[in-house]
């Protein structure tokens, strides 16, 4: 039987892969994809708890998360395109003017 712990564990693994992806990669496109992985992990959690508790709120919330992810991807990719126009590179280190 699939339990809550199965879904929560899987979502945790997915979230960790996303965090590691954001930390280790230098390509901005891959960093953005890793952020999408983390959002997916959150959605799995919401749906799993909705299943466990028999409450649809989690599913409604995950639809909102998907909407926000769509907006985030659109803006993020537009920023990557303007960075590419400015620097001819999609490398994270290309945007180091602020020395952050």
């Amino acid at each position: 039987m699939i339990t809550l712990a199965h879904f929560v564990g899987l979502s945790f693994v997915l979230f960790t892969i996303g965090v590691v992806g954001v930390l280790v990669r230098r390509n901005l496109l891959t960093v953005l994809m890793s952020i999408e992985l983390m959002l997916n992990a959150v959605n799995i959690n919401l749906v799993a708890f909705s299943r466990q508790l028999g409450d649809l709120t989690g599913q409604v919330f995950s639809i909102f998360v998907i909407a926000v992810a769509a907006g985030e991807a659109a803006i993020g990719l537009a920023i990557i395109i303007s960075l590419y126009r400015l620097k001819s590179s999609v490398n994270l280190d290309a945007a180091a003017e602020m020395k952050g």
Binding site: L10, I17, G18, V20, I63, V90
Partner: protein
């Protein structure tokens, strides 16, 4: 092993292999295809968790919309030239160690908590996710149930989300169109 559990592990494997592929692959186009695989695995898991509408939205928005955006961006920025650049950040090794620790320590705690919660609160009947009562009439189907909840209880957030998407669309067009002068 019962079939449901077998399919859970199969879809989980697809999802995790896809996610690892996103992080490991050198070329962004390969990462994007692995990301698609991961999205589809997650959609299958939603079906297993009796969230059919969320699964459909996942396929339409993620595997359809967001994926196309990624592919267009990869096409627009000529990534082939960047092959010679190093692809890992200098902090990669500490980050991997941190990831492993995070997975083992925090993940162990979280999974244990989920297990004890599942023992305390027994799993609900999946039918509860596919029925709703509207004006005293029982309506069947996950999509209808979620739809009623979205338009009845979460109407204001729904409208705010639509304004958010409009702003994001205009912002993306403005950012993508403007020709920025170079800093020289």
């Amino acid at each position: 092993m019962e079939p449901a559990l077998f399919f859970f592990w199969a879809f989980a494997a697809v999802t995790v292999v896809g996610a690892v592929g996103v992080v490991v692959m050198r070329q962004p186009i390969h990462s994007a295809l692995f990301l698609l695989m991961s999205f589809l695995g997650v959609a299958c898991l939603y079906v297993q968790a009796s969230a059919e509408l969320v699964a459909a939205v996942q396929v339409l928005v993620y595997a359809g919309g967001i994926m196309i955006l990624f592919l267009y961006t990869i096409m627009l920025v000529n990534v082939r030239r960047q092959r010679t650049e190093r692809y890992l950040h200098p902090q990669a090794i500490p980050a991997l160690g941190f990831g492993f620790l995070f997975l083992v320590v925090v993940g162990g705690v979280v999974v244990n908590e989920a297990r004890s919660l599942a023992a305390k609160v027994p799993a609900a009947d999946p039918k509860a996710l596919a029925t709703t009562v509207v004006d005293g009439v029982t309506v069947l189907g996950n999509t209808q149930a979620v739809g009623w909840m979205l338009y009845r209880d979460y109407f204001l957030p729904f409208e705010i989300a639509s304004v958010f998407l409009l702003v994001a669309m205009i912002g993306a067009v403005v950012l993508g169109k403007r020709t920025m002068e170079r800093f020289d």
